[in-house]
Symmetry: C2
Subunit: 349 residues, 2 copies
């Protein structure tokens, strides 16, 4: 997977792997303007909280290339563009985190638009590089929690494709494999967008990891068969108290894991932790188009005009989470305290 | 829905509504031989335990029309055909129940092949009629458990389409509506075969019942929002101890319902109860083609060659079931005793 890049920057353009066409075709979308970047996020051609953050950062760099004027005009233009990018998807906090990091770099850097553009590009590149490094640390810490052999259930795709590379939940799987452990992954297909069926299976099969695809509703029966040693998922936002917003269905898995005495881990970089959100109740949950459920490949699979509720995420309360696997260590409950420590610059092991 | 018949018999042929083409088209498959009947069951053109039983009964009548010879030859031919029909799907016990009822009627009826054919057809017609009557009784008993207003979560399709008419779980919904209650139904889409998205929504919309379609993985989040008053599902087989085999995902829903303090009901006619199966551990769970998960409308949605686990059913242990709603009354735990009473001819209210 190191050869398949989720996104890359070349000749003042951003190239984003179109994940809606995987695993059938591998096609990169070229973003020539910040609006193109907003569009690939909105249409979920790229998804996964850290990957969205990275695309938004480069999107803002594209915006900087499209913006001129004196320093003040440039900076205020940049803020408007950041606002547009921020509006693409509400739940993943990495989007806001990345945009704020670029904006604050711009504010703190002296010079004119040309100077700033160079610095902002370097900052976006740093975000991309640091995300891979964070994922490798997540993998290393998470590996300590993985038995040998291990049967690991995951949901959605928290892999290389959801990040700048390596992955969070799948980073843990990769690190366990690299440590020589025998790992078998059960991948929920993850309706309605099929990230598990299309992306997680593909990533793991590319690396020869044993993976079994399941309908989402099979997870409970699988646990009842005692075929799961641990569950590990990613996150779109972790609140200050450790509540986790992640792909719809995560909460149900956490309840099932608890009922079966199976450890339930959430793997996420510090950029996914939002100290400004006190608890999961305050996390905005995106509701997506009913068409994701009523149609498939353009064909109707439900009666015309049916009512649909299509939340893209749910919230798992901290009490159901065994540990948070971050790039600053494995955090144990009470999460309010352990999160405060690592966000203050501390390290946990 | 009373006008839409799941199956009917006319001019020595069985007509079965092709549920794989709903809700887009309403097409009846004509079964001219028992092999046609076996095929509509195997390919899930008809599904739902009671409906499968009824189709099998008429399938055996078709077999009787194709079989000649003296009484002994005829009866042994019939047994072979019953064996073929029985082999189509392993989990739903109504299939075996209906075939045994027809075979035993044949054995108990004097006369030659021509006499028997007439009697067996009458028996199949009785099975069909009695199933609708059983469903209406299930509805009437179940209605007593439904508050007003009621938000009801259901899984798969246990409606008119799964039965000879009216439905089991949806029979409870219909009876509550007929009693004037304000009912809102949440329908899980039910991967991979989409019975909820395609059939339950359609049945309920035809009758103007408020219905909201959800991805299967949304159920937990819905319960956490306190938007569900009760869960009611059908059954493919109820063991003597009250363990229930039903569509994959039922077990997970039962665990979630328990975690949220929501009543979890199973609605099924006595023909779905199998006193010869002591507990859920002994119920054979059908595993279906991986293609149901890897392809959609003929298009690949997962990497070629991916491993798949595709169990069609799971087992919900009796401890998670609040009550069984049967045509002989609402059964409460301990189910081993309440089931023994009604199978012995008793009545519970």
């Amino acid at each position: 997977m190191n050869r398949v890049e989720t996104l890359f920057w070349k000749n003042d353009r951003l190239f984003v792997l179109d994940q809606t066409r995987l695993p059938v075709e591998m096609v990169y979308v070229t973003c020539e303007s910040y609006r193109d970047a907003a569009e690939v996020i909105r249409t979920m051609k790229v998804r996964g909280a850290p990957a969205i953050g990275a695309v938004a950062a480069f999107g803002l760099v594209l915006g900087a290339l499209e913006t001129g004027g004196d320093r003040e005009t440039f900076l205020s233009g940049l803020e408007l563009i950041a606002g547009e990018l921020l509006g693409t998807r509400p739940t993943a906090v990495n989007l806001r985190w990345a945009l704020e990091r670029i904006l604050s770099k711009a504010a703190d850097t002296p010079g004119d638009a040309a100077d700033l553009r160079r610095v902002l590009l370097a900052e976006a590149v740093a975000i991309l590089r640091e995300d891979v490094e964070a994922n490798r640390r997540i993998g290393a810490y998470g590996n300590e929690l993985v038995p040998d052999p291990a049967r690991i259930l995951t949901h959605c795709n928290a892999g290389a494709l959801a990040t700048a590379g390596y992955g969070t939940a799948l980073g843990v799987v990769r690190a366990a494999r690299e440590a020589g452990k025998r790992v078998k992954v059960f991948a929920d297909e993850t309706r309605p967008f099929m990230q598990g069926a299309r992306l997680t299976t593909w990533e793991l099969m590319c690396e020869g990891v044993e993976v079994v695809l399941l309908a989402d509703s099979v997870a409970g029966y699988l646990m009842a068969q005692k075929d799961v040693d641990l569950v590990v998922v990613g996150a779109d936002r972790v609140a200050a108290n450790g509540d986790v917003a992640n792909k719809i269905g995560t909460y149900g898995l956490a309840v099932l894991a608890r009922a079966h005495g199976i450890p339930f881990y959430v793997a996420a970089p510090l950029s996914t932790i939002d100290p400004r959100t006190a608890s999961g109740r305050e996390i905005p949950i995106e509701e997506r188009d009913p068409g994701e459920l009523t149609h498939f490949c353009g064909r109707p699979i439900a009666p015309e005009g049916v009512s649909v509720w299509n939340p893209a995420f749910d919230v798992t309360p901290n009490a159901l989470i065994t540990a948070l696997i971050t790039d600053a260590g494995v955090l144990k409950p009470p999460f309010e305290e352990s999160l405060r420590r690592v966000l203050g610059g501390g390290q946990e092991v």
